[in-house]
Amino acid sequence: CSEYQKALKSEDTGVKYTMAEQLYNEGKYSKANRLFEQILPKYVGKPQGERVMYMYADAAYQVNDYYLAAYQFERFANSYPKSSKAQEAAYLSAKATYLTSPKFSLDQTETYDALNKLQNYINKYPNSEYLQETNQLVQDLTQKLEKKDLEIAKQYKKTFKYKSSIKSIENFLVDYPGSELKEEALFVKLEATYELAVNSFEYLIKDRLEQAQEAYDDLIKYYPNTSFSDEATKIQESITEELSKRS
């Protein structure tokens, strides 16, 4: 029976505390966490509680248990708002939540959660030392949401649902006016409007080609040197050609 096992089974909170702190300092975080988990309730409200809760949260963070870390850091920041570690804990809680955010194509509950926490952090500590990192994290998450919406719009186009693709792009442009993906979004819109036009009943084609021309003009207005210029020009040429047949 190792000392660690003894500490786990011990009734003496002090023994557990000493052991847990030692393990934590040695970097044996998962072992330490099992002890912290046991003793934390006993220290709530006591002077050592602050240390215990911080170490518990940090150890969880170190072993990549970000859900637990986010929760414990947040709890720490709320319980000890005057602690010297409060700001760091608030940041780490937000960052741990950031790390739980899944890839763009899955449910984004954690992403919204992290954005919320990061925004609260920025509001609370406008001069924080982590400000730059925080802004970077916010940007990463926003880009993820942008990518999600753009990919859905692209899928509508791929599955021949051009109107839905156009509508989704329009919503995208309203939701993320400054997006880095705006250039691609405008190009997708051009493709979708063009495909919609040429696949329409004859009496609708002319109107819809004109809308495609507008989509092209939009793309060129915002991105004169667009990386999609080859394909865009090709589409524009066939718009002109099709339109000339119908004028």
């Binding site: 409200g45 599955t159 649902k161 839905s164 156009i166 919503n171």
Partner: protein, 827 residues
């Protein structure tokens, strides 16, 4: 000393008084106040402290006092006065059976250490009173008392005394003043409150005030259904009798009987009066029926009803309102005006999906029938939910569409589909004795696989999932055979349209096995290797429930010194190259495990090339020669027969046609009737070459597809032993069969962890060895009952007990009772 409001002070000391079980230091730490800290009085800091302390739910009273230091007016002393809530040290419940107590304790959240407040006691008392009143104990009394526990600090003992009293039953329900409708009719309208009767021994005639109130409304509704628009209950009295029963006296006033007069529609531009009248289905002169009128306008009990509201809802008019207004009542005739505000048609704006923790967006979005910019149609929302369930990745009972942000001005609406992922992978690990030895099976099937992530280490959580592909692997081995199979399918090949691509490989090797000595002879073997590729596509015409499928399959059989009923030649080979074409329509649903409505049809043909047309052999001569030699025992003749058979079966020549159709009809509540039938025929292009011994039908028993060498199809016919209808006279199986069945199903539970349903069936089927004998009405009949359990991790498990009324060939006894186990085969 006077505290000056709005001043800032430094805290010189903090004192906590009134504590019994807590440590003073602990409370001070919790407040977050420190000596030397500057605070404003009154100010945020102290308000926060109070809020925090209240938040712990530990104190009955919290006061904070501040006193200025007389010598140093910029310093203050704080005193926090607390009254701790007592905790329950012991508790006891009297008057309730021991085994019911745990559940109650859980509901009222009572355990040692619970802090007691007046509101907790009052709530608990009300909870218990309601609970027992609902069970028919109209006279229940609850008393909760506490007294200090002297053995422990700040604790109380709690005693909960429940006196349920006798259950009160309803002995009589009397109606006074009813002339047009009989008392019996009115009593039957009261769905929940019934009078005691000899015939109601399995149901209680409880008196539950809430239910009674709804029943009073039902009585009035009953009158409304029969034209008595003005009917009302003047008074109702509840009389307690000595024998713990109640008499209910209802005094009704019926009023006159009314009839519908003119019904006019106002405000309708989308639908003509004629169309609306047809949907309404109420004519001038009909007996007035307020309930029916309401139902025809908007049936709240059935969201899919054919009523006027749904007529509008299904064509985009989400914001429409339909209101019937009585415009005149002359004598006994009431004229109505149905006022319709159509509003703008609504279009979908944003379509969202949430809860997909595993399945990628693109797998879900491609299935959605509501897309941005589409006209709002309720039927499309309903169908989307049904089709999402059918994917098998989400819990069908938990898919909920939420219509959001309806904006009547812009004419837009959003919808969010909330899904809950469920386990869609199955592992089958089996060992057992069968066919004379130990058989081990390892089967893995992943229904939501992601092939593109197979090399991505990050994606293994624990397996690459989420792209909606399915992958399965199966290994089976025994002493004398091994079989391996692998299959993969992608439902949206290319990602543009629902076109399923599938590919599968299999390989089997079998050695000669002696059932008596249990020896395996490895010098005699039989190898089968096969590959097949298929493509199936959802059609748009005649409607988009149709699927069209094609497949190409190749199978190679290789024999070495292995004689069997299949082949008269022991050394040789055989190839089967076939093209399958099928058309099916699948609209059953919404839950694929327990479909309630819809139907499934399929028709298919499997064809080989007509080799006999161009291989230059004279099969009629060969057939004649074979007939002559068939009964000979001379070695040379036997060899010649083998030679001829090798020529007949070097490339298998056949065609096979199958049809099946099943309907699901929801009869009442969740009772579902599955009815239908199937038919199959295996034929040859060249009668001299003969029908191949492969691909045959084996009718009877559980219909489970077991390990087979020869592409046989097992057809379920319960009440008969496995394959007994096709093997009694010959080993070869049948070339033609048909089957009809009726099955009634009722679900016991449809939870995600396990879906369970019971069933009872009547079926009949028959199998024949050639088309000439075929008689679709000469059926072997059976009936029985069964149970199915579906658990996501195990698939389907089931048992059926069937009684076969007819005898199988070769016996003259009825088949009798048979037990069938169903494993893994779905639906």
């Amino acid at each position: 000393q006077e505290i000056k409001k709005g001043n800032t002070y430094t805290i010189a000391g903090i004192e906590v008084v009134g504590l019994k079980s807590f440590n003073e230091q602990t409370v001070v730490t919790t407040t977050g106040l420190r000596i030397g800290q500057e605070i404003t009085i009154p100010g945020e800091e102290l308000a926060d402290v109070e809020k925090k302390l209240w938040g712990y739910d530990l104190f009955n009273k919290i006061d904070i006092y501040a006193a200025e230091d007389e010598e140093n007016p910029s310093q203050i002393y704080l005193q926090i006065r607390l009254t701790e809530r007592p905790a329950v040290s012991q508790f006891k419940i009297v008057g309730i059976k021991e085994r019911k107590q745990d559940e109650i304790l859980k509901d009222i959240e009572l355990k040692a250490g619970k802090k007691v407040t007046q509101s907790y006691i009052a709530n608990t008392k009300n909870y218990l009173l309601n609970k027992y009143k609902k069970q028919g104990f109209a006279n229940v009394k609850v008393n909760i008392s506490t007294k200090p526990d002297t053995a422990q600090v700040n604790s109380v003992k709690m005693l909960i005394n429940v006196d349920k009293g006798e259950k009160v039953k309803v002995s009589d329900i009397n109606f006074i003043g009813n002339e047009q409708l009989s008392s019996k009719k009115l009593r039957s309208a009261m769905k929940n409150t019934k009078q005691k009767s000899f015939f109601r021994f399995w149901k209680k005639s409880k008196y539950i005030p809430e239910d009674y109130d709804t029943d009073l409304v039902s009585v009035v509704d009953k009158y409304k259904e029969n034209g008595y628009r003005d009917a009302r209950i003047l008074s109702d009295t509840v009389i307690y009798n000595d024998d713990n029963t109640l008499t209910l006296n209802l005094n009704v006033e019926e009023g006159d009987k009314y009839y519908f007069g003119d019904i006019n529609f106002v405000g309708n531009t989308v639908y003509s009066d004629e169309t609306l009248h047809k949907v309404l289905g109420i004519n001038k002169g009909d007996t007035y029926n307020g309930v029916l009128l309401k139902e025809r306008i908007a049936d709240v009990t059935d969201p899919d009803a054919d009523d006027i509201t749904n007529l509008y809802q299904n064509s985009g008019y989400l914001f429409s309102t339909v209101n019937p207004v009585e415009i005149s009542a002359k004598n006994d005739t009431i004229d109505f005006e149905i006022r319709i505000i159509e509003g703008k048609p609504a279009y979908f704006d944003r379509i969202m999906v949430s809860g997909n923790d595993r399945t990628n967006d693109h797998v879900i979005y491609r299935e959605l029938r509501t897309r941005p910019g589409d006209l709002y149609q309720k039927t499309n929302v309903v169908r989307t939910v049904r089709e999402l369930s059918q994917l098998g990745f989400f819990d069908p009972e938990q898919i909920s569409p939420e219509i959001k942000n309806a904006n009547p001005n812009a004419g837009t609406v959003d919808v969010e589909y909330k899904v809950v992922e469920k386990g869609s992978s199955q592992v089958q690990l089996q060992g057992g004795y069968g066919g004379g030895g130990f058989i081990g099976t390892l089967g893995l099937s992943f229904a939501n696989f992601s092939l593109r992530n197979i090399l991505n280490k990050e994606a293994y959580k624990p397996l690459p999932m989420g792209d909606g592909q399915s992958l399965s692997l199966r290994l089976q081995a025994s002493k004398y055979y091994q079989t391996y199979s692998f299959s993969f399918s992608e439902p949206w090949f290319g990602g543009k349209e629902p076109r399923q691509f599938s590919v599968s490989f299999n390989h089997t090797q079998q050695y000669r096995y002696n059932y008596y000595t249990q020896d395996v002879d490895k010098s005699q073997r039989f190898l089968i290797s096969g590959v097949s590729v298929g493509l199936s596509k959802r059609l748009k015409v005649p409607d988009d429930y149709f699927y069209f499928s094609q497949a190409l399959s190749f199978q190679h059989y290789n024999l070495k010194n292995y004689n069997s009923y299949l082949f008269t030649f022991g050394d040789g080979y055989s190839n089967s190259l076939a093209y399958t074409i099928g058309l099916s329509r699948k609209s059953s649903g919404p839950n694929p495990i327990f479909p309630m409505t819809g139907s499934d049809f399929s028709v298919s043909a499997k064809l080989s090339l007509p080799y006999s047309l161009f291989d230059g052999r004279d099969y009629s001569a060969l057939a004649e020669e074979r007939d002559e030699l068939a009964d000979s025992t001379d070695d040379n003749d036997v060899d010649r027969v083998s030679e001829i058979d090798q020529m007949r079966f070097d490339w298998l020549e056949f065609y096979k046609v199958k049809f099946s159709g099943y309907w699901y009809t929801n009869l009442i509540d969740k009772l579902v009737l599955k009815s239908g039938g199937e038919f199959g025929f295996l034929g040859s292009y060249n009668s001299d070459r003969g029908v191949i011994p492969f691909e045959r039908f084996f009718v009877g028993g559980d219909g489970m597809a077991n390990y087979t060498l020869d592409g046989r199809e097992n057809v379920q016919l319960r009440g008969y032993q496995n394959q007994s209808l096709s093997t009694s006279s010959t080993d070869e199986g049948s070339v033609i069969y048909n089957k009809f069945s009726l099955e009634l199903r009722y679900p016991i539970t449809l939870k995600q962890q396990a879906s369970i349903y019971g069933l009872t069936f009547l079926e009949g089927g028959a199998a024949f060895n050639n088309f000439r004998d075929f008689n679709p009405f000469q059926l072997k009949r059976s009936a029985g009952v069964g149970l199915r359990i579906f658990m996501p991790a195990f698939g389907l498990l089931g048992i059926d007990f069937g009684y076969g009324f007819d005898s199988v060939d070769g016996t003259n006894q009825p088949s009798g009772w048979q037990t069938h186990f169903v494993i893994g085969q779905q639906f």
